[in-house]
Symmetry: C2
Subunit: 356 residues, 2 copies
């Protein structure tokens, strides 16, 4: 039997009506991978919710399938967002699948075509404005308020509805909620969505408990931790480089209600964890994703765990989303040797020596 996609699988928990098209690219149903090696090292029962295996490579597909299906239900022919990253890719893919037009608005400064290539391949029309990201989002809001064009940025309420399904899956995969849910915090919609999902599943009798929600901002973009917006957020973890999170209040509520915490990690901790996770556990996620595990390591160092707790780290996007960071992280050129067995064996010996 084929997995039917999120809207069908969770229709009783979603704003799905008889008229909602059952749009799907088979998003969701992502692996929950036990960290066999790192669990031991950290004295935890550690898991990764590997959201990079959604169709466009990030968790954004969960919310976008819901938002685009509702746009179709409402008769919209065009969706629009301001985004230079994962949101635009997801919007463009579901628009293509649903036969809608997709307009992506971006700031004209620092256009990295690589980040946008995915959206363009999916057929989105990209327009750059002479202004910054906030201005792009403002214009999207103005246009979608006046014209028959649907806004699919995170202020679209259906996005959170779709995203909460990840919490349902975690409960099913573990046979209940974990003790801790560790998650990167940028725009703060995802931590809000998970918390909503965990609460709904407990209310429905599908799980007995709730996790402590521990969210981690990047140090250079830690608006919530600081308690004030950051004007020029900076971090290597571009997917959480946000200075004024849209879901600020619900994120703080999730941390407080669950007896959790919103903390921060440094870029150095993020990049170190990014490589550690790949080389010790075989899991490659984009830098922002590594903030969840980096945060768990920080909490561990600070004595925040007793030992043996069940912890799920959300990995929001695939490592292949940001190949330039991967290349920079491994800058060293390969060793070049003559094409003989002896030369290669000697090189292997040298490499083994060097890594001791």
């Amino acid at each position: 039997m084929r997995y039917p996609g999120l809207l069908t699988r969770y229709k009783h928990y979603l704003p799905v009506t008889e008229r909602t098209p059952m749009l799907t690219l088979q998003e969701g149903n992502t692996p929950l991978i036990r960290a066999e090696n790192l669990s031991e090292e950290l004295d935890l029962d550690l898991y990764f919710k590997y959201e990079g295996l959604n169709p466009t490579g990030s968790f954004k597909d969960r919310g976008m399938v819901m938002a685009v299906a509702k746009a179709m239900e409402e008769g919209s022919r065009t969706i629009m967002c301001a985004s230079t990253g994962n949101t635009s890719a997801a919007a463009a893919a579901y628009a293509a699948r649903g036969g809608l037009n997709c307009i992506v608005l971006i700031p004209n400064n620092n256009i990295a075509l690589g980040k946008l290539a995915q959206a363009i391949i999916y057929g989105a029309k990209v327009i750059a404005i002479e202004g910054n990201f906030d201005r792009a989002l403002e214009i999207v809001r103005e246009i979608t308020a006046k014209h028959p064009i649907t806004l699919v940025n995170s202020v679209n309420p259906y996005r959170i509805e779709g995203q909460k399904t990840a919490a349902f899956e975690v409960c099913e995969q573990l046979g209940g909620a974990p003790d801790y849910l560790a998650i990167p915090v940028g725009n703060a919609g995802n931590i809000s969505a998970y918390w909503k999902g965990f609460k709904e599943y407990r209310e429905a009798g599908k799980s007995d408990s709730l996790p402590k929600m521990i969210g981690f901002e990047a140090e250079g973009a830690m608006a919530i931790v600081k308690g004030e917006p950051i004007t020029n957020p900076e971090t290597v973890a571009t997917a959480i480089r946000i200075g004024n999170p849209a879901s600020w209040k619900t994120a703080v509520a999730a941390a407080e209600e669950s007896d959790g915490k919103i903390d921060f990690v440094t870029d150095e901790e993020i990049l170190d964890t990014y490589k550690w996770m790949a080389s010790r556990e075989g899991i490659f996620a984009e830098p922002a994703s590594a903030a969840s595990l980096a945060g768990v390591r920080k909490r561990k160092r600070e004595g925040g765990f007793q030992g043996g707790e069940k912890v799920v780290c959300v990995l929001t996007g695939h490592g292949l989303k940001d190949p330039n960071i991967a290349i920079k992280s491994v800058q060293a050129e390969p060793m070049v040797v003559p094409d003989t067995e002896a030369a290669v064996m000697a090189a292997i010996a040298r490499l083994e020596e060097a890594s001791r």
Copy 2:
């Protein structure tokens, strides 16, 4: 309940013993996505087996988990391969997961660090030799024959065993075998593995029929179609740029036994299909993957289908694997306009006009 991974899921069909470690990154269990838009256009019942949603982004994970688990069972501490692409990524990831060393040998010409970054992030040691790819493979074979290092290139027989599980999944997802299985052909191991899987599942009473196997080489690397090795294979579809396929005979047998065919598609057809699939169906796969759908379109043009046949196209790797091709394919810079609602609305109108 958590999906347990391929070795557990299909242990009765695999060379799994009591001593085989149940290694997994939750490979397999990939989506079979119905092509809702393209089915209509091609008058077929068309599906994509989206292998890009394996953990390292390609189908290679299926064979590699089996090969690395057997290496561990046999007490090996190091695996080795010659590869500049998907094989090295999969080998490095499973070596990391299993706690083994991974050595990747590459030719010194045209080292594209981007293609190797994934393997290096997973912790592989990369050595370049002053020689070509064939020489690198020769040295790997020499070394692994003499030293306690396990060869994990496609000549490792466990690779095909793991890969055949994709055919099992297709049968389960469709409730039986399709009429046609369309697949890119490079080294020809994958078409051989699918055919083995379909036959084993029919023998086990899990499906009633067998598909016709239709495989597609790239024109510049069509050794099987021509009937002779290609000395300098060239194609944009790097994952199938192979001049002397290792599984040549079994691939020809699969096509003949199934009443299928090995044919070729041009680079132009591959790139056109690559964009068509993304923009019409929301599915982004690496160029080599598009060879399967490009081949189906060719067969359709040539009158090779009656109409309504159930066809599964195998998409071997995620589009994010080859971001440079995506960027080249969408080279046009975004339109830049002033930051006003009116200017953006005018730009949208111009784009819509242009795409009519």
